[in-house]
C-alpha cells in the first residue's frame, strides 16, 4: 500500500535512505550506551565519595553478579520472578483495562464503583497477599492473583482517565459507518487509549515487580524477592543490587527491543516536533 511517487511526491534517493536507516539504528543504541556509561560513572563517583558497606560500587556489584550467575542462582530466581511478573501483568492489564474503560464510559457505574476502586487502591499489599495465601494456599495462583489484585486498581484509574478523554466524534463516525465491535476496539478505542496503556504498562510492570518482591518474601521459596530479603538479613547490599540490576537489565532489554519499536510504530502518525 506504499504510494509510488505520483505528481511530485518522490521517494528519497536510495543512497540517502540507506544511510538514514543505518543512522536511525545506530544513534539510539549509542545514546543508550553512553547513558548507561554515564550512570555507572556517577554511581562509581557516589560510591567513592560516600564509601559505605551499604553502598557498594559498580565493580563490587558486578562481581557478585558474576558469582551468582556462575552458580546458576541468578538465572533460576530471575526466571521464576519474571514468570510471576509476566503472568500478573497480563492478568492485571486485561482486567484493569476492561474495568477502567467501562467506568470511564458510564458515569453512573463509575459513581457507584468509585468508592470500591479507592478502597482497593489503598489496601496495603501485605493484607491482600496474606489473605490470598490463607484462602488459596501457598501456591503460585494465590501469589499471582494477589499481585494482580494489587495492581488492577491502578490500571483501572489510569484507563478510566483515558476513557474519559475519548473523542466522541470518532465514535460517532464509527456509528454512522457501522463499524463492527472488533473494528471499534482496534481502530477507534485502542489508538486513543495508547498513551494511557503505555503509562499503565510501564509503571505497571515496575509496580508488579515490587509487589512480587513482597509476595516472594511472604510465602515463596524462590524468586528475586526471596533472594533480596535473604541478603537484606545479611545486609549484603551488593547482592541486593546485583539482583535488582539483573531485573532492570531484563526490563531495559524488553523496553529497547520490544516496547520502543512497537510504540514508535504505533505513534508514527503523530505530528512530530518540527
Amino acid at each position: 500500500m506504499t504510494a509510488l511517487g505520483t505528481d511530485g511526491t518522490r521517494d528519497a534517493p536510495p543512497s540517502m535512505s540507506g544511510r538514514r536507516s543505518l543512522a536511525t539504528a545506530l544513534v539510539p543504541a549509542l545514546t543508550v550506551a553512553v547513558s548507561l556509561l554515564a550512570l555507572c560513572l556517577l554511581w562509581n563517583l557516589a560510591a567513592s565519595v560516600w564509601p559505605s558497606r551499604a553502598f557498594p560500587g559498580p565493580a563490587q556489584v558486578w562481581q557478585v553478579l558474576l558469582r551468582e550467575a556462575a552458580n546458576g542462582d541468578l538465572f533460576y530466581h530471575l526466571g521464576v520472578t519474571l514468570g510471576r511478573v509476566a503472568a500478573a501483568y497480563i492478568v492485571a492489564m486485561i482486567i484493569g483495562s476492561v474495568i477502567g474503560v467501562l467506568l470511564g464510559s458510564y458515569r453512573r457505574v463509575d459513581r457507584f464503583f468509585n468508592p470500591w476502586v479507592i478502597l482497593f487502591l489503598n489496601i496495603p499489599a501485605l493484607v491482600v497477599i496474606v489473605l490470598g495465601y490463607i484462602w488459596f494456599g501457598l501456591n503460585e495462583a494465590a501469589a499471582i492473583g494477589a499481585v494482580a489484585v494489587n495492581k488492577i486498581p491502578n490500571v483501572v484509574v489510569t484507563m478510566r482517565e483515558g476513557a474519559r478523554t475519548l473523542d466522541p466524534s470518532y465514535a460517532e463516525m464509527a456509528t454512522v459507518y457501522r463499524f463492527g465491535r472488533l473494528d471499534r476496539i482496534r481502530h477507534i478505542l485502542l489508538p486513543q487509549l495508547q498513551p494511557y496503556l503505555a503509562a499503565a504498562s510501564r509503571s505497571g510492570i515496575s509496580l508488579i515487580w515490587k509487589i512480587v518482591l513482597v509476595v516472594e518474601l511472604l510465602g515463596r521459596s524462590n524468586g528475586v524477592g526471596f533472594q533480596i530479603h535473604l541478603y537484606f538479613q545479611l545486609f549484603d547490599v551488593a547482592a541486593i543490587l546485583a539482583y535488582t540490576l539483573a531485573f532492570v537489565a531484563v526490563m531495559l532489554f524488553i523496553e529497547l527491543l520490544l516496547v520502543q519499536p512497537v510504540e514508535r510504530h504505533a505513534t508514527r502518525w503523530r505530528r512530530r516536533p518540527a
Partner: protein
Amino acid sequence: RIRLGVLKFGTVSWELDTLRQHKFDAANGIDLEIIDFAGEDATNVAMLAGAIDMIVSDWLWVSRQRSEGGDLTLTPYSTAVGAIMVKEGSPIRTVADLKDKKIGVAGGPLDKSWLLIQALSRRDLGVDLSATSDIVFGAPPLISEKAIQGELDAVLNFWHFCARLEANGFRRLIGVNDAAKALGALGPVSALGYVFHDQWASENPDAVRGFVRASAQAKDLLARSDDEWLRLAPIIRAQGKELEKLRDRYRQGIPRRSVAEEAADAGRLYHVLASVGGAKLVGSAPKMAPGTFWQEPRK
C-alpha cells in the same frame, strides 16, 4: 514426614543443616522436608495457610494464639536471646547510663526483649526508658548497621546480630536473659521453639518425638565439634572471630533444662510482660495459656 518452614540463613537452618548432613532425621525415623522462606512473617503465614507442619517462633506468640482458640504448641529450640550492645569505648556502663541516649530497638515496641529490659529498668531504677531515651525502632539489619555507623548509642538486637556486633568492637551492656533472671526467672528460658499444632502432634506423635531427638543430637554435635562450625561457615556467612562468637553464643543458648522448668519460668515472665505490654501484647488472657509448652504425652 515433617514439613518444616524456616528462615533461610536463619540460625535454625544451621542446626537443620547439621541434622541432615549427619542423617539424624533418618536415624530417628523421620522424613524432614525443609521449606525456606525469606522472612519470619512468611513462616507464620505459611503455618496459618496450612502449607507446613512446623515453624520456629516464640512462646509468647504461641500463648497468644492458644488463648485465642488456636492449638499451637512449642518445644524449646534455643534460649539464646538478644542483648543491649554498646561500642567498646562507649561511656555507657550501666542501664542507668542509657538515659537521654539514642537506642535502636529491633522488632518493635512489643518485642519481648525490649519489654523485659524496660520492666527491669522501671523496677530497679524507676526509669521509663521509652520516655527518657530516644527510642528508634527498625529492621534488625538496619539497626545493626546504624550502630556500626555510630548514629545509635546503644542497640537492642537479636542474639546473632549481637554476636556479630561483638566481633566488631561492641560489648554487651546487659543481656535479656540477665534481665529475665532479675525479674524472677530461675534459669534461661527458651525464647524460641519449634511450633506445631497440637492436633498434628497427636496424629504424628512419633514424628514429633523423632524430631526432638534428632534436634538434640544435632545440638549435641554443634556443642562438641568446632569442625562442624567450620563446615557451616558458608551458610552462616561468617568467618574467624565472628564465627567463633556466633558459635559460643549458640552453644550458650542450647536449652538444658526440663520443659516443665522452662514452662514455669515462662509463666512468671508472662506476668511481667503482661504488666508492661498490656493487652496489646498478650491479648485478653491474664496467664500464659496452658499447653504452650508441648509435653510429650505419657504412653
